[in-house]
Amino acid sequence: MSQPPLLQIHNVSRTDTSTGKHLLESASLLIHAGDRIGLVGNSGSGKSTFLRAMAMLDRCTGEWIFNGNTITKDDIPAYRRTVIYLSQRPFFTTGTVEENLRLPFLFKSAETGARDSFQRDLAASTMQTLGLSPQILNQPAESLSGGEQQMVSLIRALLLDPRILLLDEPTAALDSDAKLRFEERILKWHRESNAGNEYGRAFLWTSHDPNQVDRLTDQTLTMQQGELILPTGPNSENQSANKSNQQANGVG
């Protein structure tokens, strides 16, 4: 393989610290620049648990290696700006859309982030490509429709220039128009940021809809009762990534 993996996670497990229930069993995965990975599974199978574990949002055991560096506790805020988890339900603070977009730039980790300050022009142009009027920058974020909120949530993440997006059923609450726009925007982001191929991007998308996963991704993982099953992707073009994922899983 020419390039080292963007992100490697090894033997990541999560147990409910209160009930002792195993929620995620020793999952391992390699993500390369340019990967488009789908994650399917029944509700309750642990898809969200796995995505949250990748973003290190819950107490887990295991190893996270980003760009060759093992992530330790002090790296975590900066890591989460680079490997961004987008939840099913977007959240906004009281205040305008612009204030919400500025929020991540108020955190200390902004100093080490890919972008350290808010760029209003970029926000406005990103909005236009998503079919949103830049005028909503001045509207209260909480007054937006569900679809608009999900779009703004995506813009908020994109403005941080992430390397990996972890998308947890992002279009579940959107109507079909908004769903298509959202999908297009993700693919466009992926295509454009990988064209220069120096700093590749990847995303992982969970969905109930197998058609959506086929449409958007080139390999499919399955979650089953807290276990990650690799990979069932029909596409042959990404066999090398598939193989390396199998190897990573075999380590466990």
Partner: protein
């Protein structure tokens, strides 16, 4: 009174300010001691509450009865214990009673909190203990300076008043902190996912909880002497003290109580924040359970 009414705990630890006032005041010339018949007259006023409850179908008659009986029994026990300790006039029994009161206050502070984590009792007791004992020690040893220093007439009521207020503050603060953390889970998680440290994501909840906990004492201070005559001053006046002397004492007590609340609240919230988060900038949601 201070905000003892906010929590209807009439445990022995919560001694009303009037009692302290009477202990601190010079012996009265006129006799104001009560006979049991006179106490009975006051008790009969409770019938008004009972009648209202029955008439309006509030279903609180039983609660009124049990609360009243508890209050009478607890205060009677307190009276007997205090009588013994006053007669002994030794440091050890005073400190033992003070420690017992402190632990009861620490446990009571957790009583009304809906969302808890495993070490919440330990944190509450530690915070009540630290805040109340620092502040009471300074007051007793530097400000009031009774002879001897452990003089139970001063130490016990003063500590009781400080504990009662500190526990109210801690209880309000912790309850708000835990419930806000739950209610604002989406906000906190979103901030973490976008690169916030654990403190950056929880600061809003922490500030809100601190504010909530401090509001009662700030309100009490701002209306003191206008809407009500504070409890300790009432006690001193009843016992025949000079009004300006009583005011001086009351001002001192207000500051002491406000300091105890501030220390106790910040301490209990800081400990809770550390217990519900970890150094990987995660919230320990699994540990937070509803009671």
């Amino acid at each position: 009174m201070f905000d003892l009414n906010g929590l209807d705990v009439t445990i022995p630890g919560l001694i009303h300010g009037q009692m302290l006032g009477q202990f601190l005041a010079p012996r009265p010339e006129g006799d104001i001691s009560l006979s049991w018949f006179e106490v009975g007259v006051a008790a009969s006023l409770l019938l008004i509450n009972a009648i209202i409850s029955i008439q309006l179908g509030l279903g609180m008659a039983k609660r009124i009865a049990t609360s009243s009986v508890r209050m009478v029994i607890q205060l009677a026990i307190l009276g007997l214990v205090l009588k013994q300790i006053f007669e002994l006039s030794q440091p050890a029994p005073v400190l033992a009673l003070a420690a017992t009161m402190t632990i009861i206050a620490g446990v009571s502070a957790v009583k009304r909190i809906d969302y808890r984590y495993p070490s919440i009792y330990r944190n509450s007791i530690f915070s009540v203990w630290t805040s109340a004992w620092i502040v009471t020690s300074i007051t007793v040893l530097i400000i009031v300076r009774p002879q001897p220093w452990y003089s139970p007439q001063v130490v016990i009521p003063l500590l009781g008043m400080v504990l009662g207020n500190s526990l109210t503050g801690i209880s309000l603060g912790l309850d708000r902190f835990m419930s806000e953390l739950r209610n604002r889970r989406g906000e906190v998680e979103t901030m973490l996912a976008l690169g916030a440290t654990r403190w950056e994501s929880c600061r809003g909840v922490f500030v809100e909880a601190t504010r909530t906990a401090m509001i009662p004492i700030l309100n009490t201070m701002s209306v003191a002497g206008i809407v009500s005559i504070p409890g300790m001053m009432t006690g001193q006046l009843l016992a025949g003290a000079e009004p300006l002397e009583a005011v001086k004492y009351q001002i001192m007590i207000m500051f002491v109580i406000a300091a105890a609340i501030a220390i106790g609240v910040v301490l209990s919230l800081s400990l809770s924040y550390r217990n519900v988060t970890n150094s990987n900038h995660q919230i320990e949601w699994d540990q937070i359970r509803r009671h």
